[in-house]
């Protein structure tokens, strides 16, 4: 009986389906149907704002809100232009100028345009921080900006290519600008913009999309890690002048693809999540053009945590970086000492489901600072320094990591260094170093301000955990 019921059910379903299909054939759209359409107006400002509504100017936080005005004395064409008074760096109302122009109402259909153009000049030759469009303070999906735009004192036409016009069928973010006085010694200046509009030129070249700065980058990773490096993407367009224009783009313009989504998936906005062990290559395209650069994720599976430190009485530990103890305040886990330091990572540490780990990459040397805004560490009562290190690469015979302490940074500096050669480490395994503090041979241990890892690039990729002094 059950079978029969199911069969009937199926037939009914089929009939319903057929009926629907037939009915939908009959129900063509009548002439009275009007599709929702969005304004295809390209002009934003000619002699006055065009089709922007009344409430369209939204300053960036901290910028001078009155920087923008309409100037009836100056114009490239017609009677008026937009005037931007960039404030002095010490202006109490805001130390820079920046805002978005957002349509007050429904977005516009910009799919038939290929560029945003405007004429501009300034009160002096000056480099403007950025111009762009797509920022609406709502979703900020299709943001595109050109950075570092040189303005002169004569009217010049500027072109911002649209990375992929087909995406902009309902866009409210018509224009954005942001600039300060970093290049003018803190002194303000004025610039004018006129004939601001989206246009179809046809003379802009095909985009050259770029991810990962155009490099094929390999990253070692673990399950649960998220990677946001794909979110910094760009496009290069060749302008009608023959010159190339870089456009910084948000990832929503791109389509991302993972060769192995079960290992690493990538979201629409370019965020990579590592799901399994294995290898996945993530590539991208923009408007059907393959992007230069790729991201290869080599996931070694679950993250292997450093050994859990023994429980100790708080009085017997001064912890710099550990989840097991309360850490003392630290200025930074990577001082980024210019210009000789290459080391990346540590700022901030990686978070493996709550287990914080420092991953130094491109290591040559790196310092953990406790002297700038925080109290230097007094370790006179301690006997040992403990550090867990895992080297994430093959170890050659001449490789080393030196551990260095510096006391009284910037004052009466003294230091001590303990070398650890290749035999001290094992590739892909945690090794615990317990260094007698006496071995550093330092007289004063009351104001330890820096703890250095120095490999001189012999070892470049390490995990570090559980840095603490104890007795």
């Amino acid at each position: 009986m059950k079978n029969i019921k199911f069969i009937y059910l199926k037939i009914i379903c089929l009939q319903a389906l057929l009926f629907t299909a037939l009915v939908s054939c009959e129900r063509d759209l009548s002439d009275e149907v009007v599709f929702a359409t969005f304004s295809k107006v390209g002009e934003i400002f000619t002699d006055s704002p065009i089709g922007m509504g009344s409430d369209f100017y939204f300053p960036y936080q901290g910028s001078k809100p009155t920087a923008w005005s309409v100037d009836d004395e100056v114009s490239y064409k017609g009677t008026s232009s937009m005037r931007f008074d960039v404030p002095n760096a010490n202006d109490p109302e805001g130390n820079y100028a920046g805002a978005i122009f957002r349509v007050d109402g429904a977005g516009r259909d910009l799919t038939e345009f290929d560029v945003l153009t405007f004429w501009a000049k300034a009160s002096q030759g000056v480099t403007i921080g950025q111009f762009g469009f797509g920022t609406d303070f709502l979703e900020d999906k299709f943001v595109a900006v050109i950075p570092d735009v040189d303005l002169s004192t004569s009217w010049t036409k500027y072109i911002i290519p649209i990375p992929d016009p087909s995406k902009l069928f309902e866009e409210r973010g018509m224009f954005s600008y942001s600039t300060g006085t970093r290049n003018t010694n803190g002194y303000g200046y004025t610039f004018w913009i006129d004939e601001l509009q989206f246009e179809k030129l046809g003379t802009v070249g095909q985009p050259l999309p770029i991810i990962m700065l155009g490099e094929d980058v390999t990253m070692n990773s673990f399950i649960g890690t998220t990677i946001d490096d794909l979110q910094r993407s760009a496009c290069i367009f060749n302008l009608p002048s023959g010159e190339d224009q870089l456009v910084a783009t948000y990832p929503s313009y791109f389509s991302f693809e993972s060769t192995n989504p079960s290992v690493a998936s990538v979201s629409e906005d370019g965020l990579v999540t590592v799901l399994n062990s294995g290898t996945a290559v993530i590539t991208a395209s923009l408007a059907g053009v393959q992007a230069v650069g790729s991201l290869t994720i080599e996931s070694s599976g679950s993250f292997e945590a450093a050994p859990e430190p023994p429980s100790r009485d708080a009085a017997n530990v001064i912890s710099i970086f550990s989840d097991a103890y309360d850490n003392v305040p630290v200025d930074y886990y990577n001082g980024f000492f210019a210009p000789f330091q290459t080391t990346q990572g540590g700022a901030p540490p990686l978070d493996f489901n709550g287990d914080m780990i420092i991953n130094y990459t491109e290591l040559n040397f790196v310092g953990i600072g406790t002297f700038f805004d925080v109290s230097p560490v007094n370790i006179t009562s301690m006997t040992h320094l403990h550090i867990d290190i895992k080297v994430n690469e093959p170890i050659d015979g001449g490789d080393y990591i030196n551990i260095q302490l510096i006391n009284d940074v910037g004052g009466n500096e003294t230091s001590g260094t303990i070398p650890f050669g290749a035999s001290s480490f094992v590739q892909d395994q945690w090794v615990g170093l317990d260094i007698p503090i006496a071995d550093f041979g330092m007289g004063d241990l009351t104001r330890i301000g820096l703890l250095f890892f120095i490999s001189d690039a012999t070892i470049s990729n390490i995990f570090v955990d559980n840095i603490y002094y104890y007795r």
Binding site: G202, T203, G205, N238, P240, G242
Partner: protein
């Protein structure tokens, strides 16, 4: 070589039927720029690049190597006839510039020539081409006099006496423009100031690397007309052949019109060189020049 004998009537008919088919296929395609051929109606030679593989060896040969001083222009490529650099695929001839270390050069590319295979005096020479997108590239479609011998390869090539007609030269510095030029005795272009007889054509609301365009000349006894798509943009006649630099003893003297003899076709993609400069960091390789067809007609009233 008398080219009117080279192609039989049946071949021409086959080609016309193909033309009909392509007309039907592309009749409502807006971007297919069909030029109006008036008196130059007798199709003498056509390569539609419809057979995948190496280009038809009965029409095309190759100039290979680096010539002298980078083919006389400080060009960077080593020309080969390898399929990596030249092949027919999907109905187009692909000339591809690669960045690779090859016999001491840092780039490879290809230069096809019809010398000894197809040479003709007068007529309409046209090709439908999409130029590559990158900087530092120099695609060209041009003709040399049949009595030229090793231009770019040897210093004693009989150039500029033998004559050169450049139907299309392009560089990314001017992405909306191409130029048509003649080089000959007294106006070779190697002088300072340069003296070649040239004019460029500026495309409106478009640029050349975004699509195919037809580049052609209509050439008769006393004139060469230069076309892009259906636009005639320059006519060069014997009266235009100003000598550079001017001879102070003979001001106003004109160079010799060396275009009353057969010429052969060259299509090439150079990398670097005096005209486009070196490729910049944003230019990715490979870079390809696409040729949809090459066709040569003769004037129906002209018996050569």
């Amino acid at each position: 070589m008398n080219n009117s004998q080279k192609y039989t009537v049946s071949k021409t008919l086959v080609f016309y039927s193909f033309l009909l088919i392509s007309f039907i296929m592309f009749t409502d395609c807006e971007t297919d720029n069909t030029q109006t051929v008036t008196t130059f109606t007798e199709l003498i030679m056509a390569d539609e690049f419809d057979v995948d593989g190496a280009p038809d060896p009965s029409i095309w040969g190759y100039d290979t190597g680096t010539g002298f001083d980078g083919w006389g222009n400080n060009e960077l490529q080593y020309y080969t006839s390898r399929s990596e650099n030249v092949k027919v695929e999907n109905g187009v001839l692909l000339i591809t510039a690669l960045k690779e270390d090859y016999n001491g050069a840092s780039y490879t590319s290809a230069r096809l020539t019809t010398k000894g295979l197809f040479e003709q005096k007068y007529g309409r020479f046209e090709a439908r081409i999409r130029v590559p997108r990158g900087s530092g590239l120099w695609p060209a479609f041009w003709l040399l006099g049949a009595d030229c011998d090793g231009v770019g390869e040897r210093i004693d090539s009989n150039w500029p006496l033998c004559g050169e007609i450049d139907i299309m030269e392009y560089r990314r510095q001017e992405p909306t423009s191409v130029s048509g030029t003649v080089h000959g005795p007294g106006y070779s272009g190697l002088t300072d100031p340069q003296g070649q007889i040239t004019k460029s054509y500026d495309l409106q609301n478009d640029r050349f690397d975004n699509g195919f365009h037809i580049f052609g000349i209509e050439w008769g006894p006393e004139y060469i007309n230069f076309y892009v798509d259906d636009a005639l943009y320059n006519q060069i006649t014997p009266a235009d052949l100003e000598i550079t630099p001017e001879d102070p003893d003979n001001p106003g003297a004109l160079g010799e019109w060396v275009y009353n003899k057969p010429f052969y076709i060259i299509i090439n993609l150079a990398v670097g060189g005096n005209f486009p400069g070196v490729p910049d960091a944003n230019t990715t390789f490979p870079q390809s020049m696409l040729v949809d067809y090459v066709r040569v007609y003769k004037n129906m009233y002209d018996n050569n």
